[in-house]
Symmetry: C2
Subunit: 607 residues, 2 copies
């Protein structure tokens, strides 16, 4: 891991890992990245391939430079399709960056962007291609990426409970197309984000996680935000939302997108609000529309749009314990009440679709009325909005757009499943994307944990993407350490969900790590874990010497009490025993066939 002097982002591979690339078949020039984790030769095991969202920053063969941006791998694919053209780019205006005096403006990204859009309304969203039976390069890329080379492997044990999911043994490009065509999955991929390494969000794919970054009115710079982006994907964030609400929003976003191998999401109403000096009631459709075009041209892959917050829903929040806790939702509610008018997002939704479609910006239909406390979970306001989101999903799809649906929030365990079932039913199987949910309100400072419990469960029930929560939730702005803890915590939740759904490849990593643990391959145990650095440092805190990393015991029990060591002794003894007698395995077999559980084995005379 090396730190560049300026601008500083963390690069280099993770321990014992190297980046490999797999080619496509229909698109042979695809170079689909995976991370290969090497284990000790004594294990006699091949490298473990894991999904890799970290982009070129962890590729030792690539020299990255955030002032140059990432390679534009999709550029040729997009151009080859011939359905988009360079358009007259919208001029950047002072209000895009908060009307700052020139000396305070974050410098524009050095390489100017030449935005594309659809030629004369031609269909170019992944949804439209999929419906037309076209397998895109993005779809083949996703198929290879999700499949993790398991074509060559024997079938894995499939013992999960998938609920409404149906994950095939092998992921093919045609299957990906079918998932996108059905609306069960989306591939957020703005044609103006050619640096993107395509990925899919859907309940039949690996469960994804999102990390939020972004400056606030209070603090932070472009360098900090790009660093957080690179740091978040290093640890596994599949998408990143830029939730900036401070100044320099436009220019910081440019730096983020040009360095993002993952889809970037935004909440355009935040910037629109900044353009009207943060006065919600001063928002207009025209300002919002202009902001959509601005961000779509920059390459934002998905927009959170709170078009489900309708005037009629607002009274339903009146008796809530915590009112409206979504920023976007509260902004729109305030606008609606002030003007006593229906939401302009709802009224202009078809026009919003037309804009999104021209660049293939996916919708993330926002849950502006999500519960902000256990008391408000699954209430009338929340579900009234969800019903509206279902209505909007149908409109967006009819317009050719890709759609996912945002979900809560704060929900006690027994009310989680209802959220997924209702969302699937009301929103035509669109991918669900939830924030946690937190299963209790009483642990500020630990809300990454309260929410990981809910996230793992809702992921299991079918949520396609989990938005992380950091330890600072409800209290302050996450720093770099918080971002990492949030990402690792959500990788745990997403992986636990994949295991429980019976994803055919999920258990490979658990089993590889557990074998390493049982065989005292300490380095392998660290390297196969989600956070090798932390695992190693915790081990070394008690037993720092290098020799201890090959020791057949650990600090917890010491050499004499080590159950794993005793287990090995037992196996050795059992092997000898098996040679001497009828064999332990045979005895175990007899038991499994329904033999007497408590049969006297080597009975003691007289007892």
């Amino acid at each position: 891991m090396t730190m560049r002097p300026h601008p500083a982002v963390t690069t280099g591979s993770l321990p014992a890992s190297r980046k490999i690339h797999k080619p496509g078949t229909a698109f042979p020039d695809l170079r689909v990245p995976m991370r290969a984790i090497a284990v000790h030769p004594s294990a006699g095991e091949p490298d473990l391939l894991v999904y890799d969202a970290s982009g070129p920053f962890t590729d030792e063969a690539v020299e990255t430079d955030i002032a140059r941006g990432l390679p534009r791998l999709r550029e040729a694919w997009i151009a080859a399709r011939g359905d988009s053209e360079f358009c007259a780019a919208r001029e950047v205006r002072p209000e895009d960056n908060g009307n700052l005096p020139p000396e305070k403006v974050t410098p524009a990204f050095p390489v100017p962007n030449a935005p594309r859009r659809a030629i004369n309304g031609r269909p170019l969203t992944q949804y439209e291609y999929a419906r037309a039976g076209i397998v895109t390069a993005e779809m083949e890329y996703v198929a290879i990426r999700e499949n993790l080379g398991r074509a060559a492997k024997p079938a894995m044990l499939r013992d999960g409970q998938p609920f409404q999911a149906a994950i095939p043994d092998l992921i093919t490009p045609e299957w990906v197309r079918g998932e996108v065509a059905s609306g069960r999955a989306i591939i957020p991929a703005n044609i103006n984000h050619p640096e993107l390494e395509p990925m899919a969000i859907g309940r039949n794919f690996l469960t994804k996680i999102n990390a939020n970054i972004g400056n606030s009115a209070v603090t932070s710079s472009m360098e900090e935000e790009v660093d957080k982006l690179v740091w978040a994907i290093r640890w596994g964030a599949d998408t990143v939302m830029d939730l900036s609400t401070g100044r320099n929003i436009h220019n910081i976003r440019d730096w983020i997108i040009r360095n993002a191998p993952v889809p970037i999401g935004t909440v355009p109403i935040y910037q629109a609000l900044e353009k009207v000096d943060a006065i919600a009631e001063a928002l207009t459709w025209e300002v919002y529309r202009d902001t959509l075009i601005e961000q779509a041209e920059q390459g934002v892959d998905y927009f959170t749009v709170h078009a489900g917050v309708r005037l009629a829903h607002i009274p339903l929040t009146a008796e809530r314990v915590t009112g409206i806790v979504s920023r976007g939702g509260s902004i729109m509610a305030k606008w609606c009440l002030h003007h006593h008018r229906e939401s302009f997002l709802y009224e202009h939704f078809a026009e919003i679709c037309d804009i999104c479609r021209a660049y293939d910006v996916s919708f993330s239909l926002g849950d502006g009325l999500r519960p902000g406390s256990i008391a408000d979970a699954n209430d009338a306001a929340q579900f009234a909005e969800l019903e509206t989101l279902g209505e909007l999903t149908a409109i967006a799809r009819a317009k050719g757009c890709q759609v996912m649906i945002e979900g809560p929030g704060h929900v006690p365990m027994h009310k989680i499943k209802e959220n997924v079932e209702l969302q699937v039913k009301l929103c035509g199987d669109a991918p669900f994307y939830t924030l946690g949910p937190l299963v209790t309100d009483i642990a500020p400072g630990y809300d990454h944990i309260t929410s990981a419990i809910g996230a793992a469960m809702i992921g299991w029930f079918g949520t396609a993407m989990l938005c992380y929560v950091t330890p600072k939730e409800h209290l302050g702005l996450p720093d770099r350490d918080d971002v990492k803890i949030g990402v690792i915590t959500y990788k745990i939740a997403a992986h636990a969900a994949d295991l429980a759904k019976g994803h055919p490849a999920a258990r490979m990593r658990d089993d590889a790590l557990s074998r390493a643990r049982f065989e005292f391959r300490w380095e392998d145990q660290f390297n196969l874990s989600l956070d090798p650095d932390t695992a190693r440092s915790f081990h070394d805190a008690t037993l720092p010497k290098e020799a201890h990393k090959v020791a057949h015991f650990c600090s917890m029990c010491g050499p004499k009490f080590c159950s794993m060591k005793i287990s090995h002794d037992i196996r050795d003894a059992a092997r000898l025993d098996a040679e001497k007698q009828d064999g332990m395995a045979a005895m175990a077999e007899r038991y499994r066939q329904g033999g007497n559980l408590y049969m006297p084995v080597d009975p003691v005379p007289g007892e």
Copy 2:
């Protein structure tokens, strides 16, 4: 919070909290502790009463001194029952403390212990009293403690999914007796632990958590272990297990018990093994028996006994990924294989019951064959042992003993429920006490989180007590910080379980904290949380000034973007609106009565 110079344990109340005591009715001298958390007068709310396991250390009115031990509150109750007598105490022998030279022996606890035991086999376990229809002081204490003063409160919303639990609105002493008599709950309370503040473990009580402490062959002292005990209960540990495997085991345990207001559990085989120089095959029934008596006289409240690891089960572990991971289980497996004999714990189980009964030491029947990896979850070895534990439960109850059952371990989410269902069925409703379970193996360094996911779920399904896991699990020895993180994480899991089960008092704390959050009562939000210190420090990391603690916004969004603030504006507007028009509440009511969801409210002309 003050730190005493020597021996240093943390004392003093938590922020905005004071200890109150409630008297008994049948036993008027009972002083049952609760923690009262005060909120700002502007809230107009009474103090929130929460369950308090921390003992006199957090009582500002009590001067504690660990060299004197805690007040012996149960002494008079036990003496008054007249069914126990002082017995000739077993002499402490050099091997009890690891045969250390005198200068290395931890000093004995300054006040010698005069142990009691039952007179001539008279029944004195809480189970026996309960079966005989006797409500003990311990039972009334537990009833008052669990009830948290809710007699006077209106009925709470009961919207949980309790599965097999049946939690009454009010907890009465007679109801507690019934739970103990049925075996669904235990009150671990050795008659030689008069310092104990009685508590119950059962699925119809608040979900409890256990923290493990104890030295190892490698490190740590009496002071450190007593400090960890006091620290663990300060943050909410309901019981503490002393898992020491190093030297000075006997004397350290004395210091721990004399300062423990919570039940102390041990795994006696650990000390027995130390007495035979850590050679498993050298263990004998006589050494083990002697150790049981030694520890029962000291006042250990529950023993983990791995009597379910039978010779016939061991072959079932032969093909496991991680073999046997329980220390006690592996010790017994090694002994069985070496001697080719049935486990002496199994064969002498009735005698073990006789010993436990004479002091009222509860059983925690150990799951020596619990899975140590996702791959091994719910396998034949695990469930064969569980069946044996059911058999042993019946024996122990017939002998008059209290029993709980230990459970896994590592279990993916979709296999958790089966564990509870099978345990309830096979073990005659005995309380279940599980370690996590971890829902994936891939995150060493974060196993408090991987296991909290499983713990919350298994708690919801009916597990009565959750054994904590710290971030150091699998890697090293937990220090003081790890103990706190483990305890808070498990308080989250236990509380989430209580919420989901529909415990009638659980949501009071969530609601109080959420009201504080919505009303920008920052100090109340900190004080009502599980860890006020961390919540406050995270807030102050971004907004350190005192003035910000009354600010109507926070660092996350800043003043202009605060959704909560906007929500308040909305409510004000709605109030005005209600006066002007028909009223928002009426409109909401109309919706709830099945009115048109999308009725045009204030329609815009021409649209």
